[in-house]
Amino acid sequence: MEIVTANELISGATVYFLTEGCWGADIDRARVFQSEENAERDRVIKRANASGFLISVERETVRVAKGRVLANRLRERIRAEGPTAPRHRPQKPDIHNAVEFSHVSL
């Protein structure tokens, strides 16, 4: 299972492609692609790279437990939750960009 993640251009914040078809900061709302959905996942990545407001677009393997999306790699879990020592909340993305993107149908 994989999710698609990136950094938002202006804030640099970690963002995820969400189930709603737009981008946002909450990993638990990330769209989880099964292996049979690879073509769709790749279309998301392609569009993200072409969007102009997302950088460093990557896919990450995850598992889902009790309604939470958990990245397999610690790196990704730290990206999702912010630095651990001391704790800092993650950067806030510029949401208006994400909303705009949601109007682009896949």
Partner: protein
């Protein structure tokens, strides 16, 4: 300290205008990320895990209070109220927004600072001894030469696209506090038989996945020839350095593969062409630059510390004096190191409020001068001994009075996986646990000088190879593991540490360090024998055995 001339000021202002335009064009979509990335990196703007990171140059680690106040202002206004001082004597901000960066650069330019050449395959910020121009053991103040190197290397047209990044460090004292032998080029002041000062030149040092101690390519290069000699080395490197493999592109690999003798021959032949030309450094130019670094107006004083009496009357202050002051060339003065390693804190971080306090102290007590050390601390270079107590009290009030310089909790630590996109493992929480474990003053006194250095990946920004005890974060099947090395040394007897055995998990690291320390304390011949001395005498076996038994 050096002040921008008209050329410097116009150049930096021009660069800010240029980058402002580039950011606008990126945001409008006119520039793609592929087009923009090299432009932002040329201005010190990286993308890390959570946000952009802006690395600001502090040339040879020297600042004044106005500049530090500006950094505090930037931390407060555009970031999250703190900055991180690095082993390159720079400062990094971890949370700037792209659309704020032009304004940040403009604010930096207003105090003669910038972020140019803090990234990319060019000559990076020249680093030096944090006690330059102050230390009692100094042959010569290296800052004028560091400034001349800065001017020569800034946007040098021939060396803006080298095979790989290039780092130069310089020290004017025989006791190397700038880790010069872990740089692409290291310069150490020498005096010839006539008392003339010049530079021993070391080449091919570095950390990373292939750590190397630099080798002496020339025992003595006079001042007047130094730029020509440096230019010759850079030309040879630019021509023969490997561009086919970025892991083999540093000059250390060239030295290793070609041999020092071949490289020396090539450099000497280039030097014959360049010497005496435009790069010749006339005495009057050196004097002009030197004037910027003239010693401040010291007052005559014979004040000195009575450490024995202080130990009885005020042991905590005595401890601060013992560890956090460095002998000054001028009688009645000392240099104070402000530890950015509070017990359990984040090594190298300072809040905006702390930066303001340090700026005030520099202005009031240190002729407006400040330094950043490669060990991620700050320095007030010229403090009258009579003022040390006032400084100490002010530092204590700001949470900056930790008297641990050179001790086990004064660790060099890179940002690691909490911030860095290249990391394999976290560094900061590991450092915090070690710091808490050894935090008591009595324990640290018992152990004495011991340098621990931690990197979150093999790039070794945390200088783990040069730690008396080094800790390297690696990743194995999704778990952070830490490899422990012993025997590294960043000083004049530079050495690379040896790995003791397999990696261990984070929770085991403080115990492992404790075991190594216990072996040392038991095996040392006396309190005056430091960790490296004992290691040399007894060998690695007891240390390895303490961690791994007879595996």
């Amino acid at each position: 300290m050096y002040r921008y001339d008209q050329f410097d000021a116009e150049f930096v202002a021009g660069r800010v205008a240029q980058f402002t335009d580039q950011v606008e064009r990126r945001i409008s979509g006119e520039l793609s990320e592929d087009q923009f990335r090299p432009l932002r990196l040329m201005n010190g703007l990286y993308l890390q895990l959570h946000a952009y990171m802006l690395r600001v140059a502090v040339p040879y680690g020297t600042m004044n209070s106005t500049q530090l106040r500006k950094l505090a202002h930037i931390a407060r206004t555009y970031d999250r109220g703190y900055g991180h001082f690095t082993t390159r004597q720079n400062i990094q901000f971890n949370w700037p927004r792209l659309d704020d960066v032009p304004q940040i650069l403009s604010e930096l330019a207003s105090v003669e600072m910038h972020a140019i050449q803090t990234s990319g395959n060019c000559i990076r910020n020249v680093t030096t001894d944090q006690f330059a121009g102050a230390a009692a053991d100094e042959i010569i103040d290296p800052r004028p030469v560091a400034e001349i190197i800065r001017q020569w290397s800034s946007l040098h047209p021939e060396f803006s696209f080298l095979p790989r990044k290039f780092k130069i460090a310089i020290t004017g004292a025989p006791n190397d506090r700038a880790a010069i032998k872990f740089h692409d080029i290291g310069l150490m002041a020498q005096q010839d038989e006539q008392g003339k000062v010049g530079w021993a030149v070391y080449v091919g040092g570095g950390m990373g996945r292939t750590p190397m101690v630099a080798k002496e390519i020339s025992p003595f290069v006079p001042h007047s020839d130094l730029l020509a000699y440096l230019e010759s080395i850079l030309r040879v490197y630019n021509r023969y350095g490997r561009r086919d493999n970025k892991y083999k592109a540093r000059i250390k690999i060239l030295v290793h593969e070609e041999g020092l003798a071949t490289l020396r021959e090539q450099v000497e032949s280039e030097f014959l062409q360049v010497r005496g030309g435009v790069l010749n450094l006339p005495d009057d130019e050196l004097s002009r630059i030197k004037a910027y670094f003239a010693p401040p107006a010291f007052k005559d004083s014979d004040a000195r510390f009575d450490l024995a009496a202080l130990k009885v009357s005020d042991p905590e202050f005595a401890r601060f004096v013992l560890h956090n002051t460095n002998q000054h060339a001028q009688a009645g003065y000392t240099s104070i190191t402000i530890s950015l390693k509070p017990v359990g804190g984040v090594p190298g971080d300072a809040t905006d409020a702390q930066m303001e306090v340090v700026a005030d102290l520099a202005q009031r007590f240190s002729f407006d001068e400040l330094r950043v050390s490669h060990e991620q601390n700050l320095v007030l270079p010229h403090v009258a001994i009579d003022d040390v107590r006032a400084v100490y009290e002010a530092l204590n009030g700001a949470g900056l009075g930790e008297a641990n310089v050179g001790q086990i909790t004064d660790m060099i630590v890179c940002p690691g996986l909490d911030y860095c996109a290249l990391a394999n493992a976290r560094s900061i929480p590991v450092a915090q646990e070690i710091s808490r474990r050894f935090g008591s003053a009595r324990r640290q006194e018992e152990i004495g000088d011991l340098k621990i250095k931690i990197s979150g990946c093999i790039n070794a920004c945390g200088h783990h190879h040069a730690g008396h005890i080094g800790i390297l974060g690696v990743e194995k099947r999704g778990t952070e593991l830490y490899q422990i090395t012993v025997g590294g040394n960043a000083g004049e007897n530079a050495a690379i540490g040896n790995i003791l055995g397999r990696g261990i998990v984070a929770e085991e690291v403080p115990d492992a360090i404790e075991q190594l320390v216990e072996i040392y304390l038991k095996a040392r011949s006396g309190a005056e024998e430091n960790f490296l001395g004992t290691l040399k005498r007894v060998g690695e076996a007891p240390f390895r055995e303490a961690l791994y038994g007879n595996d």
